[in-house]
């Protein structure tokens, strides 16, 4: 039976180590039985808490939703601590508590030239984005990564849109990537395009600084630490700027989980 609520118990279909990831940065693709979330939007996330967390790990873990299809839900995670270490031991049929879809999702402007900027595992939400985009020929991607390309689910994207990839192996590569970012952001800003970015914090900061410099329309997807994912714990807050639409919350903390995780780059301060 398909669960009908926003908080439901799903079961693991399978957990696959992704690509040739080294043991330090272990990536996994997690497939779950599908929840009944017909209004899901790319860029939204879910909270996942395996039953095996017991009482020892009280929090769920926020995971970007990659895709929801009638047969499954797909998300990805990287082992980063003891909780995700336990998640890496999930087996088919294991029960997991899941709540979502959470947050706001990315802007979709079908006729606007759209540039996706992904850093590392920040590529994940864009898989659903390009799959659902009504005019994918208006979308292109720049992907920066450290591990070999096989470690990332990039094939699910480049079957829809052109992807430029840049790998950082030696220090000069990063400068090259930053230069390319700058050029692409400048280019899209000049045609009033839409730019969406997802990746680690230093990457987002770089994107934000170019967004400011060229007055580009840029959305950033944040990955703040969260306990509840639904706006209650106030642990994931991000500080807004003068440009925040609601005057009562300008220059004030707002929840990343409910007001984001996708923010316009000019409306927030990155820590």
């Amino acid at each position: 039976m398909v669960p009908t609520t926003d908080c439901c118990e799903l079961s693991v279909l399978d957990l696959v180590p992704f690509g040739l990831a080294d043991p330090v940065h272990r990536f996994f693709a997690l497939r779950l039985s599908p929840p009944n979330w017909p209004d899901w939007k790319p860029g939204q996330f879910l909270m996942l808490r395996p039953k095996s967390f017991g009482q020892e790990f009280p929090w769920g873990r926020p995971l970007g939703i990659c895709l929801i299809r009638p047969q499954h839900l797909i998300c990805f995670f990287q082992v980063a601590g003891r909780g995700t270490e336990l998640m890496a031991k999930l087996r088919p049929h294991d029960p997991v508590q899941v709540w979502g879809p959470l947050g706001n999702g990315f802007a979709v402007e079908p006729d606007t030239p759209t540039l996706l900027l992904a850093g590392g595992m920040g590529i994940v939400p864009f898989i659903g984005y390009v799959a659902q985009h009504p005019k994918a020929w208006n979308v292109s991607m720049l992907f920066g990564h450290r591990e070999p390309l096989e470690c990332y689910p990039v094939d699910s994207i480049n079957e829809h849109i052109p992807v430029d990839t840049l790998r950082e192996t030696v220090p000069g590569d990063l400068d090259n990537f930053i230069f390319t970012l700058q050029e692409r952001i400048k280019e899209y800003a000049s045609q009033n395009g839409l730019i969406l970015a997802c990746g680690p914090l230093p990457f987002l900061k770089t994107v934000q600084s170019f967004a400011r410099e060229y007055h580009a329309r840029v959305q950033l997807s944040l990955e703040n630490k969260m306990a509840c994912g639904v706006g209650a714990c106030l642990g994931c807050v991000v500080r807004t700027t003068d440009a925040w639409p609601d005057p009562a919350h300008r220059n004030a903390p707002v929840q990343c989980c409910t007001q984001g995780p996708v923010f316009w780059a000019n409306q927030i301060e990155l820590a």
Partner: protein, 329 residues
């Protein structure tokens, strides 16, 4: 079924449902005001937002009560991040009472809540007894507010907070200020476990006119990261909550319930219907679900549903049969 001999037909079901309802209902009778709840399961302040955040996960009206995020006269931005950290069987927070302030609550949050169907309790915070009085007077005028919970136990603020909660005289002064300025509402005082004698503070607020006591607020804790050699909270220390504090909470509720004649609302690591019954057994009249809501957002709704089953399992026909009935010796 709950009454196996009473099955079949809509009328029988309704009758059974009504019986069930009565068996779960609790009345908290204070010296001045009472609070009637359809069941003893409320949500703890700071873990349930302003309530509407959770409407998608269950029927708010099925809860015994909703205690909203602590409110101050003016909006507060709270402490710097990081301000939450996961710890074994619990968590630390140093939010610092970030809230939208009284006006935003009155004009935007409260009108959305189903306050006619479920008691809305406002947790309140101020930095002086005078300010507590001012806030109480404002809340006293709001029809949708069923009761006030006075926060004299927040460990994360420099002024007020647990400074009031750690001193019997100050605790009494704040309680009196709220009592005098909110004559129409039941006054609940929320106590801190970070004191030498919680019974002494409880006595003091009872004498000052509290209708009920809720306990416990968080314990003061700390967590560090060996790799970065930094504390995990920007505030360095914060409030510990979750299943790990349940034994401390049970002890406090038991001590307070034995020390005072007003109802006690138990808080601290409650994750299941069985946990609820344990708190009633040591003397609580009702409970609040806190960190369990972060373990799954429908925790409180789930516990309400499970409560009749747990009662049946332990042969409890009515909650009154177990309250304070701890078998000793």
């Amino acid at each position: 079924m709950y009454h196996p001999d009473n099955v079949g037909g809509g009328a029988a079901w309704l009758a059974e449902h009504k019986v069930k309802h009565n068996e779960l209902a609790v009345t908290l009778t204070g010296p001045k005001h009472s609070l009637c709840l359809k069941n003893p399961v409320m949500t703890a302040s700071g873990t349930f937002g302003y309530g509407m955040e959770f409407a998608r996960f269950g029927n708010l009206a099925s809860l015994g009560g909703i205690i909203v995020k602590g409110i101050s006269l003016k909006p507060r931005h709270g402490n710097p991040c990081p301000r939450i950290a996961e710890t074994p069987c619990g968590m630390l927070n140093s939010i610092g009472l970030q809230n939208d302030g009284l006006e935003a609550f009155r004009d935007h949050k409260l009108p959305q809540l189903p306050w006619k169907d479920v008691p809305i309790v406002v947790n309140m915070y101020a930095t002086s007894a005078e300010e507590f009085g001012e806030l109480a007077a404002e809340l006293n005028a709001m029809e949708g507010v069923a009761a006030l919970e006075v926060n004299i136990s927040c460990p994360n603020v420099k002024e007020g907070g647990s400074i009031f909660g750690a001193d019997p005289a100050q605790a009494a002064r704040v309680t009196r200020a709220v009592r005098d300025n909110a004559p129409a509402k039941p006054v609940i005082v929320k106590l801190s476990p970070n004191v030498t004698s919680i019974a002494e503070i409880a006595h003091s607020v009872e004498d000052a006119g509290a209708d009920m006591i809720s306990c416990i607020n968080t314990l003061i804790g700390m967590s560090v990261d060996l790799r970065s050699r930094k504390p995990r909270l920007a505030n360095i220390i914060g409030g510990l909550s979750g299943p790990c504090i349940k034994p401390v909470a049970l002890r406090c509720v038991w001590q307070v319930a034995n020390a005072v004649n007003i109802p006690v609302i138990g808080i601290g690591g409650i994750c299941s219907a069985e946990d609820v019954l344990e708190f009633l057994l040591v003397g609580a009249s009702a409970v609040q679900i806190g960190t369990a809501t972060f373990m799954r957002p429908d925790a409180a709704f789930h516990i309400v549903e499970e409560l009749p089953k747990a009662m049946e399992k332990y042969g409890i026909r009515h909650l009154d049969d177990i309250r304070g009935m701890l078998a000793l010796g």
